[in-house]
Symmetry: C2
DNA sequence: ACCTGAACACCGTTCAAGT
DNA sequence: ACCTGAACACCGTTCAAGT
């Protein structure tokens, strides 16, 4: 029964925080195997518990997938937020967050695919509430930049007309999400120099916004 | 042994064309259940054969998934090609094929997800040859329209500079693919009126192209 | 409240065997 | 050449039971 001076983790024997340990294990497996086909039993094995212990924290496997995706959305949101800081104007800001976005996707392809995969959007009977909220952080940041550009007179979107702003946000998000997916899926050979692609793509979108 | 006048399908008892029957069954299941989580055994059951018969035509399950995806890519290519016909200029053509593209994705979400899913792009060790060729048809059509627009002086991309054209194609594909994915994944609430979205998005991209 | 172990119905894949 | 049936190692999920 000698305690091997493990900081403060497994004192309770009831594992302390199995829920988080399971999420961590799942995230690690996704990163290692570059796909999200892990089995619940493998995650349990890695966390050192029986294959049924996870059911105390997740009603079904999909709930664990949701939790993993949530980690991804948090990381993405933080990366975008910190990329935003040095930007002088809305144009720079748009390019900076686009770079951060695509860089995250390219660096975590399997996680990114899980985030935008079917498990969250359409399990069996669809879970609209999750689908709506999961990308909300990224979308909100994009929206802020578009509004900022409209206020500064940089983009020619009417800052009050909600449809016009919504369209601009959708255009930016589609471009950035589409490029990310094409890179992640290996559909474009130019994935080696993503920043060049992102810059070109976003200036094109920004130019389009100027013209409206 | 009386033959029930089935046209000419199952005369050989060895099923005639099991390979195609399996593909058809798989496509049908994907459309019905709106996901590609079907089991090989279910496909075999539906085709009326033992659960091992598929292995005579597909070395592993992923090969059947590839075949299903190929059906999707063919359908998409044909839809784009026929949408192209009535277009007067490159701008109209761009919008027409974009509409066809997004409409296909919105109408066949599960199939579209399979086409751009991880199974084709990064099975375990990646299959670049498949990833490169699978989207080639759609990409080629987009490229033709961009080149046509450049020749007509409608888009300001240098028709000779390969990078510039490649960038324009990538921009168009990213936009259209990104919007499709966002709709398919339920990340945008405006999925009810996709044509409005497509038109707005593509005019924006086209305006961006004019400006370069 | 949290965890374990046995059990159930299912899978993908392999192998020997049938025609 | 194509198909079947038994078999293997795995899964997700449930249930009774332990602490």
């Amino acid at each position: 029964m000698s305690n091997f001076a493990k900081p403060a983790a497994n004192r309770k024997y009831h594992h302390g925080d199995l829920r988080q340990a399971l999420i961590d294990a799942a995230v690690a497996i996704v990163a290692e195997e570059q796909n999200w086909n892990f089995s619940l039993r493998e995650v349990a094995r890695r966390a050192g518990v029986s294959h049924n212990a996870p059911y105390n924290h997740f009603a079904e496997k999909r709930d664990l997938l949701d939790a993993v995706a949530a980690v991804g959305f948090d990381t993405l949101r933080l990366a975008m937020a910190s990329a935003l800081e040095g930007a002088a104007d809305a144009g720079e800001a748009m390019i900076a967050i686009a770079r951060a976005y695509v860089s995250f996707a390219a660096g975590n392809p399997a996680l990114y695919r899980l985030m935008f995969g079917p498990e969250l959007a359409a399990p069996d009977g669809v879970r609209p509430e999750l689908a709506e909220t999961s990308g909300a952080g990224a979308k909100a940041i994009l929206r802020d930049v578009v509004v900022r550009g409209a206020d500064d007179g940089l983009f020619t979107v009417s800052a009050t007309e909600e449809t016009s702003i919504g369209m601009a946000v959708l255009a930016a998000w589609s471009a950035v999400h589409g490029l990310s997916m094409l890179i992640v899926d290996g559909k474009t050979e130019a994935a080696a120099k993503p920043d060049v692609l992102v810059d070109g793509l976003m200036t094109l979108v920004i130019d389009g916004l100027r013209r409206r």
